[in-house]
């Protein structure tokens, strides 16, 4: 009994300490004034690895998700004789929910895990310690560019996902199933509002991007510097970010679209 209590207490303390360390990491790397001239090449490099290289998976999955939505929506709506509403359904579900959430999940798997593994390996091979030895702050040099790159590229990727998905939906609905393209787009435009739907989607993707990259960077910096520790940290990045994304999504949706 006592042992159980002790285990529980130790675990709780560990978790709380981890949250504290994560906050510390965030404040140190963001508040540490980055020298812009030094920072820019590093940031561009990270934008390339985190953003550009994620582009292919985002575009392909966006296309397929849009096409599936178009097909599923059509088979249901055609029963009610309102298959023109497919455009509206595809656009609303993509812009409000699927684009931010699915992009963030893919982003966690594609970029988040890579960042964790990279930083973890740097720690295990004592590169981070080396930077500190020669007087370069690893927070600035390693952590900050990755945080910013994730934060910047996530909304961009999410927008691209949405637009590709809508294009995929129109491909199926208009070109394949033969819905009149005029009513497809007009229904969509009449029901999607820029400030309500598109901007809220952008806000969601900003929040998700921030959370995912924060978790990834923290897990990398905080891992046990062994090969086993790195593998555990990578797993934790994917699991924690996925859970955080889905939980936060419910919260944000309730705040944005729930009337209360």
């Amino acid at each position: 009994m006592i042992q159980f209590l002790q285990k529980l207490g130790a675990k709780t303390l560990n978790r709380v300490a981890a949250v504290g360390r994560a906050g510390q990491l965030l404040s140190q790397s963001l508040i540490a004034k980055p020298a812009p001239m030094m920072m820019l090449p590093l940031l561009i490099r990270q934008l390339y690895f985190i953003g550009v290289l994620s582009l292919v998976i985002i575009i392909v999955s966006g296309l397929f998700i849009g096409m599936v939505l178009g097909l599923q929506g059509y088979t249901i709506l055609v029963d009610y004789g309102s298959e023109q509403a497919v455009g509206q359904m595809v656009a609303l579900s993509l812009v409000r929910e699927l684009a931010p959430v699915v992009t963030a999940l893919l982003f966690a798997g594609r970029a988040g895990s890579a960042v964790t593994a990279e930083i973890g390996l740097m720690k295990a091979t004592e590169q981070l310690a080396c930077y500190e030895m020669i007087g370069v702050d690893p927070m600035r040099r390693i952590i900050a560019p990755r945080l910013w790159a994730g934060f910047i590229s996530m909304p961009l990727l999410s927008m691209i996902f949405a637009i590709v998905g809508i294009w995929g939906g129109s491909l199926v609905a208009v070109d394949w199933l033969g819905i009149f393209s005029g009513s497809f787009w007009a229904n969509m435009q009449a029901s999607v509002s820029f400030s309500e739907d598109v901007l809220n989607g952008v806000i969601k993707s900003l929040v998700f991007g921030f959370v995912v990259i924060w978790i990834a960077v923290f897990q990398g910096n905080d891992c046990v510097p062994t090969s086993e520790g790195i593998s555990q940290a990578t797993t934790r990045t994917v699991v924690y970010s996925s859970l955080a994304i889905l939980g936060l999504d419910f919260l944000l949706t309730a705040m944005m679209f729930g009337d209360f």
Binding site: L47, I152, L156, M159, Q189
Partner: protein, 152 residues
């Protein structure tokens, strides 16, 4: 050379993201930056607007000639008053034109249909369309039908 290719690809990513946002704004949500601010205002009063919203289309023979800019209750007559912006180039609506609230398809959005009249005098800024027909509300129709059945 390596760093240049890298920078170009990052630039392309950012450009693509921005373009996607613009496309979402204009193509998907139908945001109209060049709001046809011009155009004149015409009013119409309805007994029941039944789900008409602001930014709804105003059309004649199916062609859009304006949009609904405001909806409020006329306090004196206790009717719904709809304010419409009609495009400037539509300068051929006579004062006895009639307005009715229609539905696009079975489940589509509500819009206002204008039927032109025969007078020579034209509608001008701030005038009111007198001849109106309210939205068909399904519950009322069903109610009337039941009432008739019972009284038979």
């Amino acid at each position: 050379m390596r760093i240049r290719a890298l920078e170009i690809s990052v630039g392309a990513l950012i450009l693509a993201g921005m373009l996607a946002l613009v496309a979402l704004a204009i193509n998907v949500s139908g945001l109209n930056l060049s709001q046809k601010g011009g155009g004149y205002t015409v009013y119409a009063r309805f007994d029941n607007i039944g789900g008409l919203t602001e930014r709804a289309k105003v059309s004649m023979s199916g062609v859009q000639i304006g949009q609904v800019s405001a909806i409020r209750i006329d306090r004196k007559r206790l009717m719904a008053e709809v304010e419409m912006q009609i495009f400037d180039d539509v300068d051929y609506l006579s004062i006895d034109s009639s307005a009715q609230i229609l539905t696009a398809g079975l489940l589509g959005e509500k819009y206002i249909g204008i039927t032109p009249g025969f007078e020579d005098d034209l509608l001008e800024n701030g005038m009111t369309i007198e001849d109106t027909q309210s939205a068909l509300v399904l519950e009322e129709i069903v109610g009337k039908f039941l009432f008739n059945k019972v009284s038979e």
